[in-house]
């Protein structure tokens, strides 16, 4: 143990009240930071997981007419490209696109979907629904649908072409359950009867309240669509690479491709804004803790002027004196961060057990939290930085104190 660390430890432990005051600032700052980040990111991550689990990380949709802008010469004073793509609804050759897509190492699986809006009727209840015509096996590979079932089973759906899977909130709205009949209205005005094989809960209100899954061939016939798929959804190994892959797919397939980040941009920005707002608020708490430590260490320098002079007279260098006060800050930051991380984890665990009844954007019965080591690392880093800044000025001040002045003044 270096002499400055040894002395710093002793200075700290002999001023218990000041130590507790400094420590508590760091501990609560770090703990609150971790807990709030766990909550805000918990909701955000749940939304992302559920969304990707239902809609895929990447979606290839309408074909567009290729434009040859690089070959064109822009008119004088023109502000770049003003033309728009011309889109054609549906996927022209889904099987070929899927075959080529599977060659990409980032693609785990993909599944074609024929999507259309229809009216549903069950008993006396009516609703406009989003019909997803799917290939059961491929869809099960690509999405989390198997994990979303709250009633019924997938085999009953797979083995019966007149079976459907219905979103949980839609099932409540139509007052149907597994085994009931739901009628879907075809464009020609004819009602088609389907048997509810399962009820699925994605956890996102906008999906659970309008979605019905049927077999793709049946949906194609009901919707009277010439194309077998209006989109292809993808499951990726690394979902963060979705934007890059979307760009490549657009160029390759001449179909619009949308990553989950682009698709859910507005909701994600809302979560991000909320998270940043909370992070800024909590960072201020940590900064306040830093100010507390600044005050404590400044008072400590004033209280230890005599000791500083003694140490200097015994041969301690300016940087040793500075190190004594920096070490005090570092010890407070280290101990405070460690305890703060433990308290943060405990608070996060406690918050995750608080019951709430959310049935809007998300479906949850408890506070959603996420366990991410980055929160702990960032909170610790923030605390270390705040404490370092807070202890730097007093440490410099201590180092600059001329010992002779103190010794003369003590006579």
């Amino acid at each position: 143990m270096t002499p400055p660390l040894y002395i710093a430890l002793r200075f700290l432990t002999h001023r218990k009240r000041a130590l507790l005051l400094s420590l508590s600032g760091v501990v609560f700052g770090v703990a609150i930071f971790i807990c709030t980040q766990a909550q805000t990111q918990g909701f955000s991550r749940y939304f992302i997981e559920s969304n990707i689990g239902s809609n895929g990380a990447l979606v290839v949709r309408s074909r567009f007419r290729p434009r040859y802008e690089p070959l064109m010469v822009a008119a004088k004073n023109s502000k770049g490209s003003t033309g728009r793509r011309l889109y054609f609804e549906g996927i022209t050759n889904p099987n070929e696109i899927m075959r080529v897509s599977r060659q990409f190492p980032d693609v785990i699986s993909c599944s074609p979907v024929l999507r259309g809006n229809v009216s549903a009727r069950a008993g006396f209840e009516n609703a406009t629904v989003e019909l997803y015509g799917i290939d059961p096996a491929l869809h099960a590979q690509t999405t989390d649908i198997l994990r979303q079932f709250i009633d019924g089973n997938f085999d009953d759906f797979r083995n019966n072409t007149s079976a459907i899977i219905i979103g949980s909130r839609l099932a409540e709205l139509l007052q149907t359950s597994v085994g009931d009949t739901v009628q879907l209205l075809a464009p020609n005005g004819e009602y088609w009867r389907f048997n509810v094989a399962a009820i699925a809960r994605a956890g996102i209100g906008s999906i659970d309240s309008i979605r019905i899954y049927s077999h793709a061939k049946v949906a194609q016939a009901l919707l009277q669509q010439p194309s077998g798929a209006s989109m292809i959804i993808y499951k990726l190994r690394d979902r963060n690479r979705a934007p890059e892959l979307a760009s490549r797919f657009e160029t390759l397939f001449q179909h619009s491709a949308l990553s989950w980040q682009e698709r859910e941009e507005s909701t994600l920005q809302l979560f991000l804004t909320l998270r940043m707002s909370v992070a800024i608020t909590v960072s201020l708490i940590i900064l306040l803790a830093g100010f507390g430590i600044f005050n404590v260490l400044t008072m400590s320098v004033l209280a230890k002027i005599k000791e500083i002079a003694i140490l200097r007279s015994m041969g301690y260098r300016r940087r040793d004196i500075s190190a004594i006060f920096l070490w005090q800050g570092a010890l407070i930051a280290a101990a405070g961060s460690m305890v703060g991380c433990l308290l943060g984890a405990l608070m996060t665990w406690g918050v995750s057990h608080i019951p709430i009844h959310l049935r809007g954007l998300l479906y949850t019965n408890y506070f959603l939290v996420t366990w991410d080591w980055h929160h702990y690392a960032f909170a610790t880093l923030l605390a270390l930085l705040a404490v370092f800044i807070a202890s730097y000025v007093p440490s410099r001040r201590a180092a600059e104190l001329p010992p002779v002045v103190t010794i003369r003044g003590s006579r």
Binding site: E307, Y316, I407
Partner: protein
């Protein structure tokens, strides 16, 4: 003076304060302290005794003149190098003992040793215990310094000044805060150390009895050494 010189200064000038409050504290002071001798600086308050001690102890720098440890001048040394010299060659004893309150007697004595880093922890402890035993505090090693009496604290300060086995001990009125019995005891202790271990001691004192017991007495007035004489001899103008 034919013996080896441990510490010396030549024509030291020192001004203290700023502008109108500026005081010429030391005016061309020269002094040599030989190994194995005890020197006393006497004079009225404000005559420059302490200023001289701080400059000789490398705690303060003169405005002019030269300070040397043995024969090596120190004017060109950096602040870090001066600190190292203080740690290794000089032991300080102050009037108000200046112990570290949060540390035990033994730990106080170990603080200069820790800085020097020459001994492992166990040996530092043993040496501190031995030094404290030498000043009669062998049974109070683990007592916090603030729980010791004034006399005991001064003895701890003496032990601490000897921690790194320095060549020179500088004492600024070391007995000024002690009663007669403790003053005599502390001085005797220092005197024995100097003679037995070959140290050099320079002390500033107001106590005539102690000054008379020193090998050399230097009388100061208005920042000058006006007379120096060895024990038992008449004053001579410096």
């Amino acid at each position: 003076m034919s013996a080896q010189v441990s510490l010396s200064c030549e024509r030291i000038e020192r001004y203290l304060g700023e502008e109108e409050e500026r005081v010429h504290a030391l005016r061309g002071v020269s002094l040599e302290i030989e190994t194995g001798s005890v020197h006393a600086v006497v004079g009225p308050s404000g005559c420059g005794k302490s200023s001289l001690l701080y400059i000789l102890g490398l705690l303060d720098t003169p405005d002019a003149g030269r300070v040397a440890i043995e024969t090596e001048g120190v004017s060109h040394l950096s602040d870090d190098e001066l600190a190292h010299k203080r740690n290794k060659f000089i032991g300080f004893i102050f009037q108000f003992h200046f112990l570290m309150e949060d540390f035990t007697a033994q730990e106080n004595v170990m603080i200069p040793m820790r800085k020097l880093g020459r001994l492992p922890d166990a040996q530092m402890r043993d040496r501190a215990a031995e030094l404290l035993d030498g000043v009669g505090l062998g049974d109070k090693l683990r007592r916090l310094s603030r729980h010791l009496s004034g006399g005991e604290q001064q003895r701890v300060a003496i032990a601490r000044a000897l921690a790194n086995d320095p060549r020179v001990i500088l004492a600024d009125e070391p007995t000024g805060n002690l009663d007669t019995a403790n003053s005599e005891r502390a001085f005797e202790l220092l005197q024995n150390l100097v003679h037995e271990r070959g140290k050099a001691l320079l002390l500033a004192t107001h106590n005539p009895a102690i000054a008379e017991a020193c090998d050399w007495i230097h009388e100061m007035k208005d920042g000058r050494i006006i007379a120096s004489h060895s024990r038992g001899t008449q004053s001579s103008i410096s």
